[in-house]
Amino acid sequence: AQSVSQHNHHVILSEAASLELGCNYSYGGTVNLFWYVQYPGQHLQLLLKYFSGDPLVKGIKGFEAEFIKSKFSFNLRKPSVQWSDTAEYFCAVKEGGTYKYIFGTGTRLKVLA
């Protein structure tokens, strides 16, 4: 079965530290890629998405992600995190053949003020 792996389940950073969250998927065909964020007490919100073209995608709140096809990866980055970035982050993949969405297990980020 196709899968999406987020290797870091819990990440703790101090404010101003740089962030990189890993996301790897197993589907070998065409994919659409997404990062969603869930702030405490809120619903899942779209952070950024990749459909085609430039593999470096910029999203809201200073986040970006890079699609590396050869590594089946779509890692999320932010150069300097803020306390307000404390949330859970989910990577999702939409398979081009089946059009199914598959989510990773999420990464809980805690940013210390």
């Binding site: 997404f34 809120q42 899942l44 998405k49 459909f51 085609s52 999702a92 989510f103």
Partner: protein, 117 residues
């Protein structure tokens, strides 16, 4: 633009009881999804509607779960009878486009947290 609405937000029931969740997607969105998110896991797709037709229900436990989307707008998800392992957050999402559209993007509601005792 109003987001995806879900109700109730919380529900506590005993095992073997029945429960229903309601979802109102963003106006004009053709596709509606129901997900189950168990604590510590990512959302898992249960069923996907395109207008009022089912596109994918391969992961829906059909012996106890049912869902419908009448008139291609609102949707309800029902569990009857509930089991302890059904404790989870049930998420509804909608998207403007059909899943086959390359730029299709899902938008999520706040979810319903179900606790089965």
């Amino acid at each position: 633009e109003a987001g995806v609405a879900q109700s109730p937000r919380y529900k506590i029931i005993e095992k073997r009881q029945s429960v229903a969740f309601w979802c109102n997607p963003i106006s004009g969105h053709a596709t509606l999804y129901w997900y189950q998110q168990i604590l510590g896991q990512g959302p898992k797709l249960l069923i996907q509607f395109q207008n009022n037709g089912v596109v994918d229900d391969s992961q829906l436990p059909k012996d106890r779960f049912s869902a419908e989307r009448l008139k291609g707008v609102d949707s309800t998800l029902k569990i009857q009878p509930a089991k302890l392992e059904d404790s989870a957050v049930y998420l509804c999402a909608s998207s403007l486009d059909l899943p086959t559209t390359r730029t299709d993007t899902q938008y999520f509601g706040p979810g319903t947290r179900l606790t089965v005792l």
